[in-house]
Amino acid sequence: MSAETPDRARRDHHATPDAGHGERVGVYVCHCGHNIANTVAVEEVAEWAGQQPGVVVARDYKFMCSSLGQELIEQDIQQLGLNRVVVAACSPHMHEKTFRSACQRAGLNPYLFEMANIREMGSWATNDREAATQKAKAQVKGAVERVVRQQPLEPLYVDINPNTLVVGGGVAGLTAALELANAGYHVYLVERDSSIGGHMAKLDKTFPTLDCAACILTPKMVDVANHPNITLMTWSEVVAVHGYVGNFTVRVRKKARYIKEDLCTGCGTCVEKCPVRIIDQNFEVGLGYRKAIYRNFPQAVPKYPVIDTANCTFFQRGKCRACEIVCPTDAIDFNQKDTIVDLEVGNIILATGYEQFDARRVPQYGYGRLANVFTSMEFERMVNAAGPTAGRVVLRDGVTVPKRVGIIHCVGSRDKNYHEYCSRACCMAALKFAHLVHERVPEAEVFNFYIDIRASGKHYEEFYHRVLSEGAHFIRGRVAEVTDAARGPGEEGQLIIQVEDTLIGKQRRIPVDMVILMAGMEARKDARQVAALFGLGCDYDGWFTERHAKLDPVVTMTEGILVAGACQGPKAIPESVAQGSAAAARVAGMIGQRVMKMEPVRASIDAASCSGCRICNNLCPYHAITFHEDRKVSEVITALCQGCGACVAACPSAAISGAHFTRDQVLAQIEGILWDARQPEVLWLEPQ
């Protein structure tokens, strides 16, 4: 290797640019600060790249994505007449767009650019400098071989349907729907349950302001129901999604309510007279009862009840009809059937929320076995003035007021046996509970068993101090068990919480009357099916994956599909609301563009080679391939094609090619990557 040339950036490493294609390639190797340069010998890679056929110039630079780095490329295109550019840096997800724009500014078609990912796939994956450098060279070689075969492509433009679908009527979905509707766009809000409101509708108060949850939520619910720009579809589920950003077709199943909505006045007489009373596992989380014809709560939106056919006497035994008899407007219709509705929308916001961790999975805490162990959501219902006890804090017998209450934090969260993550909202909810117990039962003693108090949020720490000053006890340590096995007379008849108090380094046994388990949040059981339906990703725990955790938290990797609220990860109300607004703003911005530029990466079928086998027809996930019966050939509808390549790979006649991913380009790239591979010992017969 020669000594460092003073002006490396100006050095032209190779004098014979012609590699048989006449293309003039520029290669740019990024240091990414230390991210790449610490592991990959970037100078060596650049110098080596400069000696490859077709490469006119090769440089390395500290930050290629910076404005100076981009200017470097632009200058070279103009001054050295480059007609192909390769940047070896990070993932194309990160900066492909950046460099394509730079090429475009300098007058080069952006599809004559190629990126080699030597960071995520190289320097971050190993500490072996030699191997990483070797791999970077192979990646650069592959990119060079590919880029010289790339063709200039022109983007496609599609109209954006200004309607939006919001899935989930919790506080995140409601916010998103209202923001878009207020901006003048039409929104379809689809909710699986009979009423909107989500988990927040079950709560009594919200931390740290102790606002009444219903007082701040129900007006929003009413606004949504009355908004001229919102079509509210409760008791409905999305069953199929077709299309692509700007032009989705969504099929929704409206489940039969057995109520004629246009006749029902929401008077509630039917609910009152229904003779069936069953435990409400949904809204009252098993702590209260409901009828077979029911509304989640009297202020439910919409006001129409639904009939639970599994428990309705008429549906089970063909008799009763009490609701039909008492209904003053004849709104009961036992013959109603599910209906299917197709919606045309441009964007979809998923706000499907979370589920509470099932406390039965921690048997040592006794939930389900020991009567006076409650979950946090049960306690929410209990302290709610509209709940089963009308807000009285009592034991399971419904009358005894507890004198000592233990609140156990992190049930199912921050625990490798269940979920390793922190559920974020439970510490504050526990503090709120401590406050509410003191408020409702002033003489009661409250013990919090915590690992750390996570009170990071506006006015949260202040609320913690307030609860401390109200006299709540805080014991730092993970609870070993909750038991009714008394060791001595002082414990008889009580629940004993066994815990290692890590601040004094001792085992303690705290007898209490009532235990509240702060069960964490987890992804909905059907989150993976929902993700598959809408074509987005889930992480290990089942939370929907955003495009970028920090910079793009409400957009997913699938264009036109956005996420908001706790379906993306545990969240309290303020963050869910913020995400709902953010998702709405992103959608509004997209609608404002009216048309959108689409990647020209599309498949096309060479009619002459197509045998008409139709294998590709059913394979296409976007229904973008039609078959011409008259000519017996298939054709790709360019506007529907998303460029996934499934048909290209499957076509037995090699009649389909994907623009920007042609056979020629991909094979050349593979050959480039294998530039230093040993010659195979097998003799390959070239097919003619």
Binding site: Q281, G288, P363, P388, V394, G398
Partner: protein, 330 residues
């Protein structure tokens, strides 16, 4: 079904009834236990604290013998080694687990084994507890089908002790904090299983020899808990637990002024009785606290249909809140 069988020292002496009964039950269920030839002590709970390497080598000798006698690890089915004693089971599975995790330790241990012409490849045996085999390989249904004298009317406290499901290694067969497999097995025999919150707590182990008062307090808690739930007897799956609760029950009564007389039986003894075997055939009569008065209850009262409370609508004025539904309730 054929398994290698490691009885351990206890089953030759104080827990002889365990051995007799498990062999009788196995014959009824068509399970064959082939005793490992020339086995040695597992080191119990103490030796590991004295010298880790020697303790591991001691246990590994048994693993090596069992692996060799089951035809090594090359066969299609992995050799299975069954231990009825919780401490033996823990030691065998623990050593296998740690040798698998640490090649350095495995190499040291194999160097020691080589002196005796043996070697052991970690992971080549699957170490099982007897309860695991009976509930998971044989199954509750097959056990229930063999029952000809259901244990109706007998209130049983299922006691697992602290070793059988802890630590929560990957291959453990039940919840490490609140196991339920023995509960289900006892229900399959027709017995009434009482809630026994201390089911996985310590019996004191060898603490009776070192710090008697500490051990007796631990034993007292267990007896009190079983008595609080009106258990007729405690059923166990560990010789150490059985010995402590049975042999030291009088000492507990003496120290604390209590009057417990709760028989402590092995679960295989109750299985044998339910299968119609005579008390003598399952070793009953060898315990310190005579089990016969409690066993006289068997069949005395078939579970009355009335016991399952009839579904009634909550009465007017009843303000009680519904209990959580348990989805896995059998």
């Amino acid at each position: 079904m054929r398994y290698s069988y490691y009885p351990g020292c206890s089953l030759e002496r104080n827990a002889g009834a365990y051995h007799t009964s498990l062999m009788a039950v196995a014959a009824q269920l068509g399970v064959e236990f082939a005793e490992v030839d020339d086995w040695n002590c597992c080191g119990a709970t103490e030796f590991i604290a004295v010298n880790r390497l020697r303790a591991y080598a001691l246990v590994s000798r048994n693993l090596a013998l069992a692996a060799r006698q089951t035809g090594g690890s090359n066969g299609a089915a992995k050799g299975q080694l069954v231990a009825p004693c919780s401490a033996c089971y823990l030691n065998l599975s623990k050593v296998d687990h740690y040798l698998s995790e640490s090649p350095a330790l495995a190499s040291d241990v194999n160097q020691a084994l080589a002196a005796g012409g043996l070697s052991y490849a970690p992971g080549s045996l699957r170490v099982r507890h007897l309860l695991d085999v009976l509930v998971n390989d044989v199954g509750y249904e097959k056990v229930a089908a063999r029952v000809c004298r259901p244990l109706h009317g007998l209130r049983v406290a299922p006691y697992y002790g602290c070793l059988v499901v802890r630590p929560g290694f990957r291959e453990r067969f039940d919840d490490p904090e609140y196991p339920t497999s023995l509960d289900r097995l006892m229900r399959a025999l027709g017995a009434t299983v009482v809630d026994f919150p201390l089911k996985a707590h310590c019996c004191g182990g060898h603490m009776t020899q070192i710090s008697r008062d500490v051990a007796l307090e631990l034993i007292r808690r267990l007896l009190k808990n079983a008595a609080d739930y009106q258990a007729d007897l405690i059923v166990t799956l560990c010789p150490m637990c059985q010995l402590n609760l049975d042999a030291f029950q009088e000492s507990v009564n003496g120290l604390f002024g209590t009057e417990y007389r709760i028989p402590i039986l092995f679960f295989t003894q109750l299985m044998g009785l339910a299968f119609g075997l005579s008390p003598a055939a399952v070793g009953i009569g060898k315990e310190f606290i005579d089990a016969r008065p409690a066993l006289a209850k068997i069949g005395a009262a078939a579970p009355a249909a009335a016991e399952a409370a009839p579904k009634r609508k909550p009465r007017r004025g009843d303000q009680s809140l519904p209990l959580p539904q348990m989805s896995e309730e059998e």
